[in-house]
């Protein structure tokens, strides 16, 4: 998903769930920051490198795809953007290597979603924002995996956009992707870009939904394609419906996190709270535009009765840089970094415990003592102090 949903729509959802305007802004800021908190950003603010929640295009192009590099990539993308649905999914007559990647496929309402929301409980608005980003992306990025894999994430020429003609009859229009990085997509003409085909299994071009271009991130589009893992079974992706489900589930999750975090259950949607605004939301989701920020911002303004400020990446950088070392973790960015590391730790641990080394090693501190990346010491220390 993009800024229009992660920032403005999340803000709307938080307002509808009863959060205050200020808390809603913090939540949506954190949700959008997940798409910006790369190693470059962390270097700039001198934050812990292990708190990276994304990799920018530049970083991906320089990323190594040896086993260590792949684990690093998978840790980030599987934890925040492609939450695995079922880490024990059956995969008969497949090799272990294939099974490990197959089990990283993202879909909504998996077991890890409940853990993600539970982890955000009572940890502040930053953790809530991260959880909402993860939740929303499970709907948009369904059927792709957060690891470079040709055999899972590839698509082929069987790719159609589903449109309705003037009589309301569904038509299929073939999508022929182009590979120009600089040119924007043109939905009117049906021209979209995707990543180049690379037959190397671990090529960066085969990470996530690169082979489907930006289509999963457009709320208006409905399309049909053959996923590489699907054994020629067609997938119909109805983004307007999925995004609406994502929004209603976010409202429900946010309400739980505000009132009773333990009550959260997957596959539950707060359609009642959303009902008064349902028509407007559906209209925004269906509008044929690559960026719906203006519409969502206007809706948020009407719900809140106030204007929603634009996302400013540097909003909390100053206080973090000027904070004394012993109080950095109490600043907004400090709390965000800790929440990000906790999320990454949780997901990586779950993947490792399922017998899958795709995201690297996860060491149980209680059994083995401290071994690993120094940044995670913060989580241990906070755990000891009871400051989770």
């Amino acid at each position: 998903m993009q800024k229009d949903f992660h920032y403005y729509a999340t803000c709307c959802a938080a307002l509808l769930a009863g959060w205050s305007f200020e808390d809603s802004l913090e939540i949506c800021y954190s949700a959008q920051l997940v798409d910006w908190c790369s190693r470059s950003f962390l270097n700039r603010v001198k934050g812990p490198a292990a708190a990276a929640t994304t990799q920018l295009q530049l970083e991906l192009m320089e990323a190594r795809t040896d086993p260590v590099g792949l684990q690093d990539i998978t840790r980030i993308w599987a934890s925040f953007h492609f939450l695995p649905y079922d880490l024990h999914a059956p995969c008969p007559r497949a090799s272990r290597a294939y099974r490990n990647k197959y089990r990283l496929i993202c879909r909504p309402n998996g077991a890890l979603l409940k853990d993600t929301v539970a982890l955000a409980a009572r940890r502040g608005t930053q953790a809530v924002g991260i959880a909402m980003h993860v939740l929303a992306d499970t709907w948009a990025h369904s059927y792709f995996a957060g690891t470079p894999s040709l055999v899972i994430n590839n698509t082929d020429s069987y790719f159609f956009e589903l449109l309705e003609d003037e009589n309301g009859i569904e038509q299929r229009r073939p999508i022929r992707f182009r590979h120009s990085a600089g040119e924007p997509d043109d939905p009117t003409a049906g021209q979209y870009s995707n990543s180049l085909y690379q037959w190397s299994e671990n090529s960066i071009m085969n990470l996530g939904h690169g082979r489907a271009g930006h289509l999963p991130d457009y709320s208006f589009i409905r399309y049909q394609y053959l996923p590489a893992w699907g054994n020629y079974e067609e997938i119909r992706k109805d983004n307007p419906a999925d995004y609406y489900h994502a929004f209603c589930q976010m409202v429900y999750a946010l309400r739980c996190l505000r009132t009773d975090p333990d009550a959260f259950e997957p596959d539950t949607y707060d359609t009642e709270a959303v009902a008064p605004w349902a028509d407007e939301i559906r209209a925004i989701l269906r509008k044929r535009q690559v960026d719906a920020c203006d519409d969502w911002r206007a809706l948020g303004g009407r719900i809140a009765g106030r204007e929603i400020e634009d996302f400013d990446l540097d909003k909390y950088v100053g206080p973090y840089l000027t904070a004394p070392k012993e109080h950095k973790d109490d600043s907004f960015l400090g709390r965000f970094f800790i929440a990000a590391m906790a999320q990454k730790s949780m997901v990586t641990g779950a993947i490792f415990r399922s017998g899958n080394l795709a995201a690297g090693f996860s060491v149980d501190f209680a059994e083995k003592g401290f071994r690993g990346i120094r940044d995670y010491r913060k989580l241990l220390d906070m755990g000891k102090e009871g400051r989770t």
Partner: protein, 180 residues
């Protein structure tokens, strides 16, 4: 990375360096070694693709194309091993093709990196120029001057580079702490 994979990478690097040493010691006879290594690498390419097909790509839509790549690669490797004469031309063609192709790919990557304003474009460009210069040197020394020793040296440089990459990869650390 597991310990086994690290050890494998280190052994791989040592094997490359051993080949470089042998090329240095054997002089012009090193050429036969180059030919054998070249054929082996092609055979390995074919076998790797075949293994990839049988372990993973057979589950993939249109995965059978990988099988054909593997079979052709394997046959090409075996074919290159059976050529007994005119090895110089065979090695020159192989080095020329492989290096020129790698150079073009690196330059395209540099172009894309520059479009995205990534600082790595200089490194990619340098790699691309180095690969194309290697291809040109192969043609000059191999076809032009018929200097087998020079062609073997160019091949040895490629092996040293691969060994370094293996060692760097083996030494990278990773671990993560899980809080229950």
């Amino acid at each position: 990375m597991t310990l086994g994979k690290r050890i494998g990478k280190v052994f791989g690097a040592l094997a490359y360096l051993l080949c470089v040493f042998l090329l240095y010691r054997m002089g012009e006879d090193g050429f036969k070694l180059v030919c054998m290594l070249m054929s082996l690498s092609l055979i390995l390419f074919g076998v790797r693709n075949l293994l990839f097909y049988f372990t993973m790509a057979r589950h993939m839509v249109n995965g059978k194309a990988i099988l054909y790549v593997g079979v052709i690669g394997l046959d090409f490797g075996i074919f290159s091993m059976t050529i007994s004469r005119n090895q110089l031309l065979a090695v020159v063609l192989y080095l020329l093709g492989a290096r020129a192709f790698a150079g073009v790919v690196d330059i395209l990557r540099a172009r894309e990196a520059r479009q995205h304003k990534a600082p790595s474009w200089r490194f990619n460009l340098a790699e691309g120029i180095a690969n194309i210069a290697t291809a040109a040197a192969t043609v000059v020394f191999g076809l032009g001057l018929g200097n087998m020793r020079a062609v073997a040296a160019i091949y040895a440089l490629g092996l040293v580079y691969s060994a370094m990459l293996n060692l760097i990869s083996a030494c990278q650390k990773t671990a993560i702490v899980y809080i229950p």
